[in-house]
Symmetry: C2
Subunit: 137 residues, 2 copies
Amino acid sequence: MKKTIEEKHSACTSILKPVRDSLDILSGKWKLPIIIALDFGEKRFTEIAQEVHGITDRMLSKELRDLELNGLVKRNVQDSYPVKVTYALTGHSKTLRPVINSLKNWGIMHKKKLQEECREYKSSGKKIAVKVKADSI
Amino acid sequence: MKKTIEEKHSACTSILKPVRDSLDILSGKWKLPIIIALDFGEKRFTEIAQEVHGITDRMLSKELRDLELNGLVKRNVQDSYPVKVTYALTGHSKTLRPVINSLKNWGIMHKKKLQEECREYKSSGKKIAVKVKADSI
DNA sequence: TATAGCACTATACTTTAGTATAGTGTATAG
DNA sequence: CTATACACTATACTAAAGTATAGTGCTATA
């Protein structure tokens, strides 16, 4: 009995914590769009702002700072006139790829699963209890 | 030029959307703790509430509903007296394992990376620009 | 001289996520 | 007869995430 509780606790600390850390970095409305934009090459602030449709300067500024603090984005300042600032993905950011891929694949698979269930419910005449997410852009 | 824009758009819809879907299901303060708790076997409402330390009834109720709608949790009602309700992970939920694992591994790796940088900065005498996350339970 | 671009920051606001507290109806235990 | 367990729901709140709008100091262009 006591051991089970310890097992649970260990599952908490050993699984939950690092997963939380990863999720914190990926979650939020703008982090992924920014990463994807920068995956096409280094960009200036306003270029990113134009590509990541709908983001405000405030959010972009904040998110870039966060990404930089986490070592995923590098901020380069060329002190020409006027000052030119570019942002680029770091090598470390590339390690996120398999993670994003795994999330992508699961997302696709999951949607299929929900749609299947949807069809089953329909043909069985039961009430549909499946939440179909609103499409994002 | 036009093609690049289309490529970007395609990256948006083909990567971003399913990743968002996955993240939406995993993110939030309580979903993972609940999943982990149920991974130890089916449980009743109050049992989960006790194990997932700090959660309120309202949140537990809401999150269980969400998880059920997404086919990750099955709600079983045994109409004995009094009514006994249990919650269990579905087979579909097991498909999340590699995803969670990938998030976990990246989280661990990422933290190491940050700590390394921290050491580098310290020994180089530069200002530390690394956000070290507060430990979760 | 006026206007626009750049890389932001400041202030105030709204929306969403999560919390606190109390209450429901039924049933068994003391 | 009172109290507590169970599986919740209702109402009202706070905190965190995100939005809207404006402004900064500098330079280049019309």
